[in-house]
């Protein structure tokens, strides 16, 4: 009966994570697509947990020996996709940060002091 317990734990975890990721997070560009993908993931994951031999059957179908190998390849693929989307997001964030910082810099721009010699006190803009 050992394997039953791990199956229950895994299924609960998959459903919980699926539910979390399907929530509305505020910045939703592709919410519907994401929900569909996660729904499919949860389904496939549960089937694989309940019937591990099914995964091996799918693996054989695409020319992979064992289901666990297929799982590993899928994991690597998902990781690369994750790295890609994350770097795209970083670049976009950096861009927005640059534009924001530029706006602040331009708002706080200061002219040269009227008397350039020694009189630093008359600089209301300086901090």
């Amino acid at each position: 009966m050992n394997f039953m317990w791990i199956q229950i734990v895994l299924i609960v975890a998959v459903i919980a994570i699926g539910a979390v990721f399907m929530r509305r997070t505020g910045a939703d560009n592709h919410l519907a697509i994401r929900r569909l993908l996660f729904g499919a993931f949860v389904l496939v994951a549960i089937v694989s947990i309940l019937f591990p031999q099914w995964l091996t059957w799918v693996a054989n179908l695409v020319g992979v020996g064992r289901g666990t190998d297929l799982l590993l390849y899928a994991l690597v693929l998902m990781f690369l996709v994750f790295v890609y989307t994350q770097s795209r997001r970083n670049a976009a964030d950096q861009r927005r940060l640059t534009l924001l910082a530029r706006k602040i810099a331009l708002l706080q721009a200061s002219r040269p002091s009227e008397q350039p010699d020694e009189s630093d006190a008359d600089q209301p803009e300086s901090r």
């Binding site: 861009r95 940060l97 640059t98 910082a101 530029r102 331009l106 721009a109 200061s110 630093d120």
Partner: protein
């Protein structure tokens, strides 16, 4: 040509500034007799460059965080374009490797020839000797720039340029770090405005050498250009 009477109020000199406290005052003081409008874009310097530049009599725009030289250049161009009477923008490095005489000559050349853009080039005559390694790197950068832009230059990554206001409005640099030097050529090429090159001398002092771009950095520049 070096007469202070030729002070040019319609030209703005944009100086991206990052940790150049030891030389920036000299650079600004050299520029001011010819160009009363010098704006330093401090890119988050940590060595007090900002105060030195302010005391030297420059306009100051301060990035709240370090963004990179390309970002600083863009900020400076944006600032200069908002200033009334701005006809030309000169981009000038803060490390003292450009000659003010060249900048004056380039603005005069822009006015005389009607060119909207004047690129400084250290390879039009023999005055500048960058050394073998640096020459190879620079020539590679030139080659890449010429492959990717419609503008065929003899020098790339030369910070000394004169850009007329209408051409400057066509610049919107996305490359915050060093690859902006090619990007700016690309975008100026897209404006379709007439351009010329002008022979300049670069002063390779020990100081500027110690600050110059390393070989590894040029790898970054190349990859940045290919992978956009």
């Amino acid at each position: 040509m070096t007469n202070p009477a030729t002070s040019d109020p319609h030209t703005w000199v944009v100086v991206p500034l990052y940790n150049e406290a030891t030389v920036i005052a000299e650079v600004i003081e050299g520029l001011l007799p010819h160009f009363p409008n010098v704006v330093c874009i401090d890119d988050g310097s940590t060595d007090g460059s900002l105060d030195v530049a302010r005391r030297a009599g420059a306009y100051i725009v301060e990035h709240p965080i370090n963004l990179g030289q390309g970002a600083a250049l863009q900020t400076g161009i944006d600032y200069a374009l908002t200033q009334p009477g701005c006809e030309y923008i000169v981009t000038f490095d803060a490390d003292g490797q450009h000659r003010v005489e060249d900048a004056v000559g380039m603005v005069a050349a822009a006015r005389d020839s009607g060119a909207a853009i004047v690129f400084g080039s250290r390879f039009l005559d023999d005055r500048t000797n960058p050394g073998v390694m640096k020459r190879v790197i620079l020539k590679t950068a030139v080659w890449v720039t010429n492959m990717t832009t419609s503008v065929k230059l003899t020098d790339a990554h030369n910070g000394l340029r004169v850009i007329r206001a209408d051409a400057a409005r066509g610049i919107q640099l996305q490359q915050d770090r060093m690859a902006h030097a090619t990007e700016i050529v690309l975008q100026l090429g897209h404006t379709g405005l007439p351009w010329i090159e002008y022979p300049v001398e670069l002063l390779y002092t020990d100081y500027s050498k110690s600050k110059g771009q390393s070989v590894l950095n040029s790898v970054n520049i190349l990859v940045d250009l290919i992978v956009r």
